[in-house]
């Protein structure tokens, strides 16, 4: 159980002043979407290699340390291995070249598995580049700007944007509070690491209950504070302005063009 919070920049955002950082959040989201489509259309190793080079180039330009860029792969490492195994290993196959009992390695299968695994790897790295180079404020502003057309069908765009923004704002604060409660209960003899699934789940009640009570009280107080500053949910203007500069349009256009080319040419 980690008692110590390593001060990794929140939400993986690594502040810096690179061309990638300076791109409009919406352009980045669009580029990521195009990249994803292109990635799933590629079916040659050459194409995959090109995609890899593109990702590597962007990481370099963004001046984000490689260690942090690769950190996003940790949670999916199991998925990569699983993909390799599922595709590359056979059970009771006839005439296996390499085998250990009923389990054998299937050459072509392994290659396919590797291909899929590399695709997942590049997908994860490519999308994590967005959160690495875009501040939480810019992300929520970008998302709500993109969602704006949904207002036509009465989707509460502004309310959702406000909720997203408040949620983001409170993640680090809530994490700190959770840590303190865990420490306090540990000091009262609570154990979080023993017993079966049921025991372990129950062990978290003394942490989750106070945390939720705090959160509800906080929500009440926050609502009062927001009302005191005249929040009504409507009629708001914004300090920040998202402007698509020529370079943002260019990045978006290039990404879309490449994507289309890839899909067409395969």
């Amino acid at each position: 159980m980690a008692l110590v919070a390593v001060p990794v920049p929140f939400g993986q955002y690594v502040p810096a002043d690179s061309p990638v950082h300076r791109l409009d959040a919406r352009a980045k989201l669009g580029v990521a979407a195009a990249f994803t489509v292109a990635l799933f259309s590629v079916d040659t190793w050459l194409g995959m290699a090109v995609a890899g080079v593109v990702v590597a180039a962007i990481v370099t330009i963004s001046s984000v340390p490689w260690r942090l860029a690769l950190r996003g792969l940790k949670p999916v490492a199991w998925l990569l291995v699983f993909t390799l195994v599922v595709n590359g290993l056979r059970w009771n196959a006839p005439d296996p070249a390499v085998h250990l009992g009923p389990i054998s390695i299937d050459g072509p299968g392994l290659a396919t598995g590797a291909f899929f695994a590399v695709r997942i790897l590049l997908l994860v790295m490519g999308t994590s580049l967005i959160t690495l180079t875009t501040s939480p404020v810019a992300l929520t502003d970008g998302l709500s700007s993109i969602m704006r057309p949904l207002g036509v069908v009465r989707f509460p765009v502004d309310d959702v944007a406000m909720m997203l923004s408040i949620a983001l704002r409170f993640v680090p604060t809530t994490a700190e509070e959770a840590e303190r409660i865990v420490v306090a209960q540990t000091a009262r003899g609570a154990r979080f690491d023993e017993g079966g699934l049921l025991t372990r789940s129950r062990a978290w009640v003394p942490v989750l209950v106070p945390l939720f009570v705090r959160l509800f009280r906080r929500a009440d107080d926050l609502a009062l504070a927001m009302e005191s500053r005249c929040y009504t949910g409507v009629g708001r203007t914004r300090l920040r302005q998202l402007v698509m500069r020529p370079v943002d349009w260019l990045a978006l256009l290039v990404a879309v063009a490449v994507c289309v080319a890839v899909v067409v040419v395969r």
Partner: protein
Amino acid sequence: MAALREVSLALEPGEIVAVLGANGSGKSTLVRMTNGLLGADSGSITVDGIDTRDQARTRDVRELVGVVFQHPDDQIVATSVEDDIAFGPENLGLPRDEIRRRVDQAIESVGLGGLERREPHLLSGGQKQRLAIAGALAMRPRYVVMDEPTSMLDPEGRSEVLALIGSLRAAGHGVLLVTHDLAEAALADHALVLSKGETVFEGRVEELFGATHDLPAWGLELPPIAVIARTLADSGVPLNLTDLRPAALAEALCR
């Protein structure tokens, strides 16, 4: 159970009024009434003539009265300092350059220059509280109501915030300072003490500091330095009972 019973007070621009009382004395209820969050069962609450019950003018009331609550974390809404200060002006639907102007001025008034892009959880307690005050100031209020602004702060944060309160008065704001700390109340021009929802004292702060026998019953306590000041004053040392700076006392003593 009545939280407040027949409490009256008046606040003018350019003065600090302290409302004191132990926890549960009704102070927080009073705070929520100053800007219309809560209404009174009887009696009236007006801000520059506007009745806080007038729903049509709630926005005007809340522009005139800025409220800073006790826990700064529970008032900060945005992911950066300047975005949070902008929250109020944004709610007022002001044009972008006006919002920018107000944010810059508020940051300067509270001394958070250089921290515009900082995320709130990385601020110290004192900085968070000053951010909350900046958020209120960006509404350009005439009156600022503060609920125990320094109770959760360390000494450095306390003195930052107290200095800021003094400068708010100097800038012409009317400040209502709700607290249980007599040392804080020393800043005020006059004071009101609430006990179990009722007014038990009203008058100048010096008189309050002199009421040593009543303070415990009201749940209040003279800060140790004020006890010394009292003793010295009783021995004939000419001093201001509410100037609690050790240097001022030493100086008066040696005269």
